[in-house]
Amino acid sequence: MQLEFKKVYPVFSWSWDIPGDDDADREIGDEDLCGICRVSYNGTCPGCKYPGDNCPLVIGECNHNFHVHCIQQWLATPTAKGLCPMCRQQFSLKRGVAINEGQVEKLANLLLQPRPAALAADDQDMMMDQEFAVR
């Protein structure tokens, strides 16, 4: 029998690719929560609605990972003194990892700006999006 795939509609799930965190030897639900908000890396910080581009993850030099908005808000408080909330080392983005690539150049800004004020700010309502409808 010849078998040909004429069309494929694959469903992929994406997740943050954290170096050294091999899928194989990691247990489900373990060690993948943001140290600040206790939400999964692949979810959002409490202020965001959409995961991924809108609410990226960053990896610290100390190998502690946070939603960028979470660590940013933490660092903005006076008590933080620029330290990682988990290990109390000076917090800086780890170099040479893909996750941080987009963030490094914005690092200076990131560390200064507060996180988005509220949900409403980026709450573009997908449902009203007429492009979405056919027929």
Binding site: Y9, P10, V11, S13, W14, W16, N42, P51, L57, A133
Partner: protein, 774 residues
């Protein structure tokens, strides 16, 4: 002195009177006395004119010179005496009016010839007897009244008048109370003739009343001796028509609320106009609940049918009851029953949201299911049509400003949904005034949602349906009915009112899923157009945490070996994604992915299949490997054993794979050879029969007989989820018609159910109940 003494004495007096005048006439006298005597049935007149001899005797005795006044007087006394004597001996045996008539004629007959009474005298005499009769013979009285009623029912008013006059004479007065009874029973009969099936008319009471008055009022007036414009009585008649209308419609309540709805709207409106007391409402609703329970609330009725009748009933009640007090009774009544059924929420959602019934198609749906589901859907969508337009012929119900006027340039569902979302209830008094439309659409959605324990149940179910829908999309375009449904759900199940964070995030998930689909579309066109990746692949990239409802993305990641050419393509997509979305990686989910396959078999058949990727992978493995056992396939494809078994089952059923019981291996069925296949089957089944001993044969016969009952079991379990054997047994005893027959004992049934479990048709739950295998 005894009666016969008195008779003899009178006769003797007559004789002696005559004797003094002319003794030769005594024979004539004897002849007359016998002829007029009702007590001598053998030799009296017998209702025949007198013979010549009697005739001439009468002539000579009554018109001759010999007669004196005292003789005539005495003869009259004699006749009255004999008549009374006969009457008192016989009145108790009179049963019917015709007997009375006959008797009166019998008494009256000789007076035509022996004409010695004035009509007044005779009437007085008869009245006296009648009066006695009516007082002493109650059976007869009863029968006469019944006869009167019957004659009126049959429109024989001549005879009816005669009886009525007779009765009045007997009682010595007019009898309006009897006449009114007769009149009202005539109204009842007339009402039921004219109202019973007139469900599509709006003014049946008025019409029946008018017709009744036209046909019968003048004759009743005459009998009642009242004026034709006696409004006290005509009002009473009208009220009686109203009462009858309510009584008739109450007895038909299931038919007008459900079966005939919506063509029964006119009669519902009329009912509303006459139901004035809460007692009547309560009677109506109670009767409905009774009929609803006996007709709908049983295990052989599908959830869609129950919901359909429920929705129609709610609409009907809202038409009939402007106070909105009574629909709650129905909701409370139905709720526990519907909540027992696992498919209630989904059925409701599909219908409520007007989603395509084919979206719902599950494997055990029949065409009847589908038709009821689409009727239900139509019922829920159609709820916003102004009912006044089609039914109010008299035009006194102008469309309110809230009435939906259809715009031919916009799709209907669009207008309906917009209308639906923007409608606000009006103040109660203006509703009452003239806006039926407002009544019917009064938050129907909310009323029905109250059926469910919480809105959360609906949100969860909707999310499940929606997730499946999005994952199953071939491209990235969501049909507009789904987009509209989302609007309704978001608006109606307003997430801002949720207190719990969990519920909030459930709704929020929808937005994330939609954005994922949209981003997937953007990425896809980038990958196809800019990066030149294979365009037979249409990928979706999902934020798995937000797609959890009803689909499992959280299982441990595994690598599934793909066919070479496919693997290259998939890896290109993974790479491209990681390049665009820095720091992210992808995982493929075969069970959620859909593929279009083309199979070319050795005998030249080309077959196309649309299956999930895991099903394709199982087949692909066998096609390149020749054959394999379940264990081998699980090991090589890295799929779960349940996935593999499900896939194998599908391909075997599709006659693409064959299973060998000897080797326990699956292989591709390259050649389709029907004859050979059937021959083998026949051979093997005859072997089985030969090999079995008689006990097994009986067992087999029993199982065969149970095959006819199987659809009932399936229907039951489809509707109710799971049931224990004893429940199934008692349901079958009720539900299976005699011609099919169900005679198994509980333990036989248990045996059969276990056999079905072995055939994987049923699953036994840990608590010993049975449910359909998925």
């Amino acid at each position: 002195m005894t009666l016969s003494d008195e008779g003899r004495e009178l006769s003797e007096q007559l004789h002696s009177l005559l004797h003094d005048v002319d003794s030769s006439l005594e024979d004539d006298l004897e002849g007359i006395l016998t002829w007029v005597n009702p007590n001598e049935p053998g030799s009296n007149h017998q209702m025949r004119p007198p013979s010549l001899r009697v005739k001439s005797a009468i002539k000579s005795l009554l018109n001759g010179v010999v007669t004196s006044e005292s003789f005539i007087d005495l003869l009259g006394k004699y006749m009255i005496f004999q008549t009374r004597k006969h009457f008192f001996l016989n009145y108790q045996s009179l049963l019917y009016f015709k007997d009375v008539q006959k008797l009166e004629r019998y008494y009256e007959f000789p007076t035509r010839y022996v004409n010695i009474f004035s009509s007044e005298e005779w009437c007085d005499e008869m009245s006296g007897l009648r009066n006695y009769l009516i007082r002493q013979n109650s059976g007869l009285k009863n029968n006469i009244q019944l006869r009167l009623e019957q004659l009126v029912h049959e429109d024989d008013f001549d005879m009816a008048c005669k009886i009525y006059e007779w009765l009045c004479q007997a009682e010595g007065r007019l009898l309006p109370e009897i006449l009114v009874d007769v009149l009202l029973s005539k109204v009842k009969l007339f009402a039921s003739k004219n109202m019973n099936s007139a469900w599509t008319q709006r003014f049946t009471i008025m019409e029946a009343y008018n017709l009744f008055v036209t046909n019968y009022w003048s004759v009743f007036c005459r009998m009642l001796q009242c004026m034709e414009d006696d409004h006290e009585i005509t009002n009473e008649i009208y009220r009686c028509f109203e009462e009858e209308f309510i009584r008739i419609r109450t007895s038909q309540v299931f038919d007008i609320f459900v079966t005939g709805f919506p063509t029964t709207k006119p009669t519902l409106l009329e009912l509303r106009s006459v139901l004035k007391t809460s007692v009547k409402y309560t009677e109506l609703i109670t009767e409905f609940l009774y009929q609803f329970e006996s007709k709908m609330l049983n295990p052989s009725i599908t959830t869609a049918e129950i919901l359909l009748s429920y929705v129609r009933a709610i609409k009907s009640i809202l038409i009939v009851d402007v106070s909105f007090r009574y629909f709650q009774l129905l909701t409370n009544f139905v709720r526990p029953y519907l909540m027992e059924r696992h498919d209630t929420v989904a059925t409701f959602l599909y219908a409520m949201l007007g989603l395509d019934a084919s979206d719902l198609s599950s494997k055990n749906s029949t065409s009847t299911h589908m038709s009821i589901a689409s009727q239900l859907s139509a019922e829920l969508r159609g709820s916003h049509q102004p009912i006044s337009s089609s039914t109010a012929e008299r035009g006194n119900l102008p469309h309110g400003k809230h009435a939906l006027s259809m715009n031919p340039y916009e799709p209907a569902y669009q207008q309906i949904i917009d209308y639906y979302l923007h409608w606000n209830p009006e103040p109660a008094d203006s509703i009452q005034a003239n806006n039926d439309q407002a009544l019917i659409s009064k938050e129907l959605f909310d009323i029905i949602v109250e059926l469910f324990d919480s809105k959360d149940v609906i949100v969860r179910e909707f999310l499940g349906l929606f997730t499946r829908k999005l994952l199953g999309l071939r491209g990235y375009k969501l049909e507009s009915n789904w987009v509209q449904s989302l609007k309704v759900v978001k608006k109606k199940l307003d997430f801002k009112t949720y207190s719990s964070a969990q519920e909030f995030s459930n709704i929020n998930n929808i937005d994330v899923m939609l954005r994922d689909v949209k981003h997937s579309e953007e990425l896809c066109s980038l990958m196809h157009e800019k990066l030149g990746l294979s365009d037979r692949i249409i990928p979706k990239f999902v934020s798995y945490l937000f797609w959890n409802a009803h689909s499992d993305f959280s299982a441990l990641p595994k690598d599934h070996p793909l066919p070479k050419e496919l693997e290259a393509d998939i890896n290109n997509y993974k790479k491209a994604y990681t390049n665009v979305k820095k720091g992210r990686k992808l995982r493929l989910h075969p069970e959620q992915s859909i593929v279009e396959l083309q199979l070319r078999l050795a005998d030249g058949r080309d077959l196309n299949y649309e299956v999930t990727l895991d099903e394709a992978l199982v087949l692909s493995y066998l096609s390149s490997n020749g054959d394999g056992t379940v264990e081998e396939i699980v090991k090589q494809t890295n799929l779960d054993i349940s996935q593999v078994e499900k896939s194998l089952k599908f391909w075997v059923k599709s006659s693409i794979l064959r299973y060998s019981t000897e080797t326990s291996r699956y292989s591709v069925e390259e050649r389709q050879n029907v004859d050979v296949k059937h021959a083998v089957e026949r051979q093997s089944s005859s072997e089985i029969v030969n090999a079995t001993d008689s006990v097994d044969l009986q067992q087999q016969q029993f199982i065969d007989s149970m095959q006819k009952v199987l659809p009932f079991i399936k229907g039951m379990l489809t509707n109710l989820g799971s049931l224990k054997a004893d429940k199934i047994h008692s349901f079958l005893k009720m539900a299976v018609p005699k011609e099919i027959g169900y005679s198994a004992t509980p333990s036989q049934l248990q045996l059969y159910l276990n056999a079905l479990v072995e055939e994987s048709k049923l699953v036994k739950t840990p608590n010993g109940a049975f449910r359909l295998a998925k």
